[in-house]
């Protein structure tokens, strides 16, 4: 075993330990903020594993997207929700926990057996490459072109949907809730100062 292999083995062991430890922490800790931070640790460990697999661009993208965007967003959501609620302890909680543990361990055993048993097919002629980025780009614009382009529609739609969900809603004055809406006062807390009467432009009064 030369220096490079030794470094790889040790790094793999460290990363695997980090990842499993952090992942267990995410699931088992009661404090949701700790869980969120540890989730960042899981993501970083995964990116380290990608690096060990020679996928340098994927690894950096993993950090940028999962740590820099997803995890920060999760933390934002947690920290901006200022509702403190003490959960009353569920009676016989250990039964549920035990059940969950049993299922998880069973699933782990099954998948572990599968991983060990399966004769994994490893392509013989793995091309030695220095720049994974160029290969990725070629795939994106040849055989994975359609999913790549469809993803842009998906993102556009997600963007529109996020705006719809997040923006403040103008309250219709004349058109009270008919239909399946509950007959509650239809007001959001952030009702704008001057409710725009939409009856002029919107169609119902045609």
């Amino acid at each position: 075993m030369n220096l490079a292999e030794g470094v790889q083995t040790i790094s793999f062991a460290l990363l695997a330990l980090m990842m499993i430890g952090a992942a267990l922490g995410v699931v088992l800790l009661d404090n949701i903020v700790y869980s969120a931070f540890l989730l960042g640790g899981v993501f970083i460990s995964i990116s380290g594993l990608y690096l060990l697999l020679n996928a340098d661009f994927v690894s950096a993208a993993q950090i940028l997207i999962y740590v820099g965007a997803v995890n920060v967003l999760i933390l934002f959501a947690i920290m901006l929700v200022n509702k403190r609620e003490d959960f009353s302890p569920v009676p016989r909680r250990w039964i549920r926990k035990g059940g969950a543990a049993l299922v998880s361990v069973g699933l782990f055993a099954l998948l572990g057996t599968m991983v060990v048993q399966t004769p994994w097919v490893i392509p013989a002629n793995l091309p030695a490459t220095t720049s994974t980025l160029i290969i990725l780009g070629e795939h994106f614009f040849s055989d994975y072109l359609l999913p790549f382009e469809l993803a842009s529609v998906l993102l556009l739609m997600a963007l529109v949907g996020a705006v719809v969900l997040a923006r403040r809603e103008y309250v219709l004055d004349d058109e009270a809730s008919v239909g399946e809406m509950p007959q509650l006062p239809l007001q959001l807390p952030e009702r704008p100062k001057e409710p725009v009467a939409l009856s002029g432009t919107s169609a119902p009064s045609r």
Binding site: V115, V121, L145, L146, M157, V164, G179, S202, P204
Partner: protein, 538 residues
């Protein structure tokens, strides 16, 4: 690989219908952005026109010589064309019934149409994709759009709750599906195309890894078609979500799920066809029993239709699991008919709830006195869903059960017949409630029923949708010849089943119809289908 060479290899004409849908989507979005709410008057019609144009493009693509496009990502064969047509038509009818609903709830129509069109796009792509990445992205396009639409009425707490439940369960099922897919990628030695996977796992077909990935993939698909036991989200989502969205989910999303199931199972898993047929048989049995039995106890119309749709999915799965050509054809035929009768039922529910604000079954009592058209349409659609002759649903079920009987799946067919009887009970209960009640037994809601008016904005399209589905549901069964030809041709032209179809002893070789009570009541459809099958063989 230069640009011209690549462009010629892509065969991009195969996705012309989807291209039209994308352009429509952009037109609607930009028009809404620039013109504002005034654009609501015409954007729905733009969307409908675009979808109809897409259906026209699908028609032009029939019997295309070169079906594989984008280097294997997408296959625009006739089977996918029929599925895509079902989805596009379902969206057209959904838009017809949405306009008034969305306006009346004070939400924005432009964004609603955008999200609905992208869901359609995802479903259409899902029907033809033959490659794992493409499947996953189109599946997610459909799913995320569905979550968004479910939560679209954001001032309605039930809508929020439904969206959250749907999102959480859907994300979990996507993750499971993805895990199964990644296992397949590894097992096949790094192939993402379904055919490549089939080749890669052909040698190790009985290994634990293949079976686990099969189960995971089926779990992901079953979530989309809401087969028991992956159905838990269905009643809650159907109850909370806006009704047009429910209509869309119950038809288009389900059709896309079936398209995915057919393609994935037959192409990627021919080597374990016994196993997946067994799993889907179990799912079909559970869905038929649970869906139809629990539906009896429902008091809310939407919940009842939710469970009924679970049961209907069970019926459709009969056609899928038997794995014969007539089985697939009957499944497509039933989905086509189900499109109209289910959407018709939802149109009626929307109309009723727009006028009265409720969807309790008991509130329908005596509706006949006030609104005969609505009563007629709802009765026809429900009876058709139950399978009463001579409505379309009867022929659909007949064909399904006949195909199942021919393939030797006697148990499934008998169970289907029994649960159909159960379903007729709860459908007729509603019809009886509407029609038979004496004036003094009318519900309070019906007593205060508003005067009929088709004047307000968005009511005309609703009326058009109502009449359209009503006529189709009534006549599609009797005039079913073109539909039969369509589905049979779509199944026949696809080479993929040749390898996948297991050799069954009771494959439709024999012309003499077995002396079953079923065949005795078959006046026209069964022999017809048989002759077609004979034609295929020759």
């Amino acid at each position: 690989m230069d640009f011209a060479n690549l462009a010629s290899q892509l065969n991009a004409g195969a996705i012309l219908p989807e291209g039209i849908v994308i352009i429509t989507l952009l037109v609607v979005l930009i028009a809404d952005l620039i013109v504002g709410r005034a654009a609501d008057r015409w954007t729905p019609y733009v969307a409908i026109a675009g979808l109809l144009a897409a259906v026209g493009a699908l028609y032009l693509g029939w019997n295309r010589l070169e079906t594989v496009s984008f280097l294997g990502s997408f296959n625009s064969d006739n089977l996918s064309l029929v599925f895509r047509g079902i989805i596009a038509l379902a969206t057209v009818v959904t838009i017809l019934m949405s306009i008034r609903y969305v306006e009346q709830t004070g939400s924005d129509l432009g964004e609603y149409l955008t999200i609905l069109l992208s869901a359609t796009l995802g479903a259409m792509f899902l029907s033809g994709s033959e490659e794992l990445v493409m499947i996953f992205i189109s599946l997610e396009t459909l799913s995320i759009a569905s979550y968004l639409m479910t939560g679209y009425m954001k001032r309605d707490l039930r809508s929020n709750e439904a969206a959250l439940k749907y999102l959480l369960i859907g994300a979990a099922s996507s993750a499971i599906f993805l895990y199964g897919s990644s296992l397949l990628y590894g097992l096949s030695g790094g192939s993402t195309s379904l055919a490549g996977i089939a080749a890669g796992i052909a040698n190790s077909s009985q290994s634990l890894g293949v079976l686990i990935s099969l189960v995971f993939v089926i779990a992901g698909i079953s979530f989309k078609i809401s087969a028991v036991p992956f159905h838990q989200w269905t009643p809650d989502v159907y109850e909370g979500a806006p009704t047009p969205v429910v209509a869309f989910l119950s038809v288009a999303s389900k059709a896309a799920g079936f398209a995915l199931a057919v393609r994935f199972m037959t192409i990627a898993f021919p080597s374990v066809s016994d196993q997946w047929q067994f799993i889907f048989t179990a799912l079909a049995i559970l869905s038929m029993i649970l869906g139809n039995v629990v539906a009896i106890a429902q008091t809310s119309m939407k919940r009842m239709l939710a469970y009924s749709s679970i049961g209907q999915a069970g019926f459709v799965m009969i056609g899928f699991v038997i794995g014969t050509e007539s089985g697939y054809a009957s499944m497509l035929f039933y989905l086509l008919i189900y499109l109209f009768m289910n959407l018709g039922a939802f149109t009626c529910i929307i109309l009723f709830s727009l006028r009265t604000g409720t969807d309790q079954i008991s509130d329908y009592a005596g509706l006949y006195q006030k609104d005969p058209l609505l009563t007629l349409a709802l009765s026809i659609c429900l009876l058709s869903l139950g399978g009463i002759p001579p409505l379309a649903g009867f022929f659909g079920k007949l064909y399904l059960f006949w195909a199942g009987w021919q393939a030797g799946a006697y148990g499934l067919v008998i169970l289907g017949l029994l649960t159909s009887v159960v379903s007729i009970y709860y459908y007729i209960r509603v019809v009886k409630m509407m029609v038979v009640k004496e004036p003094q037994e009318m519900s309070e809601t019906i007593k205060n029923y508003p005067a009929l008016s088709w004047k307000p904005f968005g009511m005309r399209p609703l009326q058009v949708g109502l009449i359209l589905t009503l006529i189709t549901t009534s006549l599609a069964g009797i005039l079913s010849n073109p539909l039969f030809n369509l589905v049979n041709a779509s199944v026949a032209d696809v080479p993929l089943f040749e390898a996948a179809v297991p050799i069954r002893p009771a494959a439709p070789v024999s012309l003499q119809v077995p002396a079953t009570p079923l065949s005795a009541v078959v006046p026209q459809s069964a022999p017809q289908a048989q002759t077609l099958n004979v034609n295929l063989r020759s």
